[in-house]
Amino acid sequence: MSDHSDNQFDSDRKISALYRTGSTAQPPEHIDQAIRAKARQSAKLTPQRTRSRWAVPVSMAAILVLSVSLISLIHKEAPTVSDINEAIVEKEILTQSPAVTVEQKAQKSTIGIVNDQAPPASINESADMSQNDLSVEQKQQKIKSIKPSSSSRHNLASTKTEEELTTDVPMETNNEMTQQSFQRIIPQPESQSSTHELSDIADASIEPSTELKKDRHSENNKNCALLSHNACLDSEECSLILNEQKQLVCKRSMNHCDVGFIQRSDTKESCETKQGCVYVSEPCFCPPGIFCVCSGGQLSQCQPQKAH
């Protein structure tokens, strides 16, 4: 059995050897050349794999460079400790300044109304300087309660008008409102000085032209006319007089005597201390709205002494 197997194995080896001996066929040379040429041509068309081998590291390097530059940019633009400190300081200033800002606004509006013209920034700044230690509300109240000075009081009606406008109630038709307004302009010794400061600064900074003065004069007359009789009597800038039709009218004080003369409270002495001024009064004049025994007659006035 094993001999038979060995014989078979030998026979198979001989058949294989014989077959391989006879298998020497080769492809012709021209086919070899054609195939190699085709391979070369194809290899020339696609040598781009080399590039792709570099593509990954190159792209990664590019990403790295971009990332680093971006991070450095962000780092540069990020706020430093000193920037943060500066910002904190600025914020603190801002948190303190709203009072000043409101105050500035209040003052601006007041001065703007009083003088019909916005004051220069220096005025507000100086005003701020003088009232820095006051709270906003206090300042606003004071500003409102101050009786206008000689230069700023001629626009008192405008101040009132502002209030009236906010309530949309005409001044002439609402006597109570007028009374309230009048109460508010009763002199307050403390606040007067500060208002004087403001008005003085405003006066110093404003030098209107002749035309402007005329315009303002007529405007002031109108403003005085808007005052109630009681308010007019308490005004230094306006005077309550009897016109030719024997009617009481409130007009702007026209000369140095009646400017600053408060008809209700000022005396003959205070009038005649001014050079060339004479005190004229009717004792029985009774201010409107106040119950008196007598009424009518001439009002007390401080007038220039007439030349003989």
Partner: protein
């Protein structure tokens, strides 16, 4: 053969880097076995063999980027060749016949120092080739792949798409027939 120069690496160098020298090495290694495999499969039809041989290499070059070194290169190459042959047989629907002239050429290429022995071998080789070509197709293919491509049975099973047992069986039947047909003086 170093690892860098095995068939698979050479094919990768050619397919991915366009390394033409790698292709040259591959071509030199596999051109003769492949040519003879096709030649035997076409029953020694020389013209058809050359045509199919070129087609196989063209396919390999064209589809080189699809090559994945999961299989042996020779297995991959012979699979392409086998598919090309099958396509051709289906197209013509005629079983290739052997070319007697080619047979003589092949046999004439055999070198042998002993003239008597040479003549004896020529006779034996002619007879063997004639008997091999008359084997059933499956046995014939298995025999050719075993002797031309230097493939082991596992590779043959992979190329032909059958089990290892089937390959063994086919080869056993082929050898049995050849042993029976060949004269004793040739064995």
């Amino acid at each position: 053969m170093s690892y860098d120069n095995n068939d698979e690496n050479l094919m990768l160098k050619f397919s991915h880097n366009g390394d033409i020298s790698a292709f040259d090495v591959l071509y030199e290694r596999h051109k003769a076995p492949l040519f003879r495999y096709i030649l035997k499969q076409t029953r020694h039809n020389n013209a058809l063999t050359e045509e199919l041989f070129q087609e196989v290499w063209s396919n390999l070059i064209r589809a080189r980027e699809q090559y994945q070194p999961s299989a042996r290169f020779s297995t991959y190459l012979f699979q392409i060749a086998r598919n090309r042959i099958i396509d051709h047989v289906r197209r013509v629907s005629v079983r290739p016949v052997s070319d007697p002239e080619t047979n003589h050429e092949d046999i004439a290429n055999v070198t042998n120092d002993n003239p008597d022995r040479y003549a004896h071998n020529i006779d034996c080789i002619e007879q063997l080739q004639a008997y091999v070509s008359k084997l059933p197709d499956e046995q014939h293919e298995t025999f050719i792949l075993k002797h031309e491509g230097d493939h082991n049975l596992g590779h043959i099973a992979e190329i032909t798409g059958v089990t290892l047992e089937t390959v063994k069986s086919r080869l056993r039947y082929a050898m049995k027939k050849l042993r029976a047909l060949m004269p004793e003086e040739c064995l």
